[in-house]
Amino acid sequence: MAAITITAPPTGPTQATAKAAFLALLARDLTVLRKEFKMFLARTVMQPLLLMFVFTYVFPKIGQGVGGGAGAARFSTLLVGGVIASTMIFQGIQAVALPLVQDFGFTREIEDRVLAPLPVSAIALEKVVAGGVQALVAGLLVFPMGLFIPATAIDLHINYPLLAAVMILGAFMSASLGLFVGTRVEPRQVPLIFGLLVIPMTFLGAVYYPWQSLEPLRWLQILVLANPLVYLSEGMRSSLTTGVPHMAWPVVLLVLAGAGALLLRVGVAGFRRRVLS
């Protein structure tokens, strides 16, 4: 087997090596995503599809429209942004946290990628980038649903630059949340992610109502400010609608970026703790 020739190892500038490794890890994740695209669609589309279908098609048709008549149209309009936001957060957890929990729990396949020639923190960052892309794609998939499903006309006035900023920061924050959760949770606690995190976040995340409409419940209105999904929902509405009350966009962008950075930082530290002993 003289065919296995061992030559000198490829030594190059570490920076360039690390960059190449980062891109290769990203390519790996995108390959896997492409292979499992049907699964990605199934896990991504179902929830927003049903939400839109029941709230914006079935309810108005059976006369249960929230707000009734013109109110139904208004509700459908504000719901689009909320559904996109909750889909993105959900995707961040699905795409980043669940695989990590499995990996740390029993398969340990991540060890192979941990041995790639780049700092461990960069490997965690790559997970966030790949997860962010998935959250973004998931969010974009909701738009056509908003156009075709509602029984009443919906009234979108899209501010494209703001929409891009909100969605990119929102995707980043969602994926960072996924990293944070993925490094904290043990495999047997996975059901708790949904029961104790995703569901409360969604119901108290200004998805179905503008945050300002919580005014009569002042304590709740203040409490939900701790929920990053509130800002993403508000941001989506501020970039998609004009008639619906929403938070000021600079606040939204600032909080999304800040929460994303904080979660990333804590998540990277957790990731290092899990892969290095």
């Binding site: 061992i6 360039a16 090596t17 398969t107 020639p117 043990e186």
Partner: protein, 353 residues
């Protein structure tokens, strides 16, 4: 293969550790974890028997000084819990040492792990193949992590699939591979990027004898092409037949380090006779110790083990001594000292599976 009897010189050491030490912070993850083979109810591994349980936890690896030269196959031989995986983990940047230093290919693994990883190929004790990818993709992406272009990585993958006789499995998912094939793929993957040092943690554990032999052959061929290898094992024969030099480890420390022959020569005898007889083994040992040429006679679970000098010709005299003392000998086996003998002499315990 270059065999370095006295260790590698300063310049050509590919692996070099000084006073390397690891004390794990807590219990292993998930509480119930015990290394495979740890006996329930037995003394906790990693702690010498009789150690005070209230003392702080012992080091998993302690005072490790290693020099491995380019082109060597170096072995770490030791029982479960000896600290072999911990040693490899530290050398491959996944375990952070508590103190001491470790250099691989001239790079400090603690100070610059990302650079060190460029020089390292690893086959871990557990299967870490990427389950989301096919056999061929496992190789391709690994190559790309290490800076190969897609084209280079594909060409090299196909070549290695051929060499490792995995070509007909290229497109299957890695979950469907048998243990032996998975292990071959792990080895192929670990050398994709042409590492300076290949680390193999118990590469043949759990493989059937034939698969084990073919993997040994593969490791020898790689080494013949210049690949430096550090492997761990708890199989005596593996250490004996593969390694140019080896270190015997127990409780995190190196007890002896030499070539297999050198280690065997260090035993106090040239012949090891195991005598089985009815009656009290302790008394038999005492009786046999008086025979000419006997260095030491000891009762073991497998019979009385007699270390002798003077060749196998003196065995009949041993039998006579046993008969004179009134023992009915049922079985005698004569052997040269093996690594097993060395191990028992060093640790006072057996290293059988």
């Amino acid at each position: 293969m270059t065999t370095m009897i006295n260790g590698a010189g300063e310049a050509d050491a590919v692996i070099r550790t000084r006073q390397l030490r690891k004390v794990y912070a807590g219990a292993p993850a998930f509480g119930g974890f015990a290394p495979p083979g740890a006996r329930p109810g037995g003394p906790p591994v990693g702690r010498p028997p009789g150690a005070d349980p209230k003392r702080p936890r012992d080091a998993a690896v302690d005072s490790l000084d290693l020099d491995v030269g380019r082109g060597e196959i170096f072995g770490l031989l030791g029982p479960n819990g000896a600290g072999k995986t911990t040693t490899i983990g530290m050398l491959t940047t996944r375990i952070v040492p508590t103190s001491g230093s470790a250099m691989v290919a001239g790079v400090d693994v603690v100070a610059d792990p990302a650079a060190a990883k460029q020089h390292i190929g690893v086959v871990t004790q557990t299967n870490t193949l990427d389950r989301a990818l096919t056999v061929r993709e496992n190789l391709i992406f690994h190559g790309r992590y290490f800076g190969m272009t897609n084209k280079q990585a594909k060409a090299e993958s196909d070549r290695l699939l051929e060499v490792f006789r995995l070509t007909d499995k290229s497109t299957v998912g890695v979950q469907t591979l048998s243990g032996g094939l998975a292990q071959r793929l792990m080895v192929a993957r670990s050398i994709m990027h042409r590492p300076s040092v290949l680390f193999l943690d118990e590469p043949t554990a759990g493989l059937d004898p034939q698969t084990r032999l073919s993997l040994w052959e593969l490791i020898r061929e790689l080494n013949a092409d210049g690949q430096t290898v550090l492997l761990t094992t708890h199989y005596m024969e593996e250490a004996d037949s593969l390694c140019g030099r080896l270190a015997i480890m127990d409780h995190g420390r190196i007890l002896a380090l030499d070539t297999p022959d050198g280690l065997k020569r260090s035993v106090d005898a040239d012949t090891v006779v195991t005598v089985t007889a009815g009656g009290d083994a302790g008394q038999l040992a005492t009786a046999l110790a008086t025979a000419t040429g006997v260095v030491k006679a000891e009762a073991t679970p497998r019979g009385v083990e007699v270390h002798m000098r003077g060749g196998a010709g003196i065995v009949p005299r041993l039998m006579a001594t046993a008969a004179d003392a009134g023992f009915d000998v049922s079985d005698v086996s004569v052997a040269e000292p093996s690594l097993e003998t060395v191990f028992i002499q060093l640790t006072g315990k057996d290293l059988r599976d």
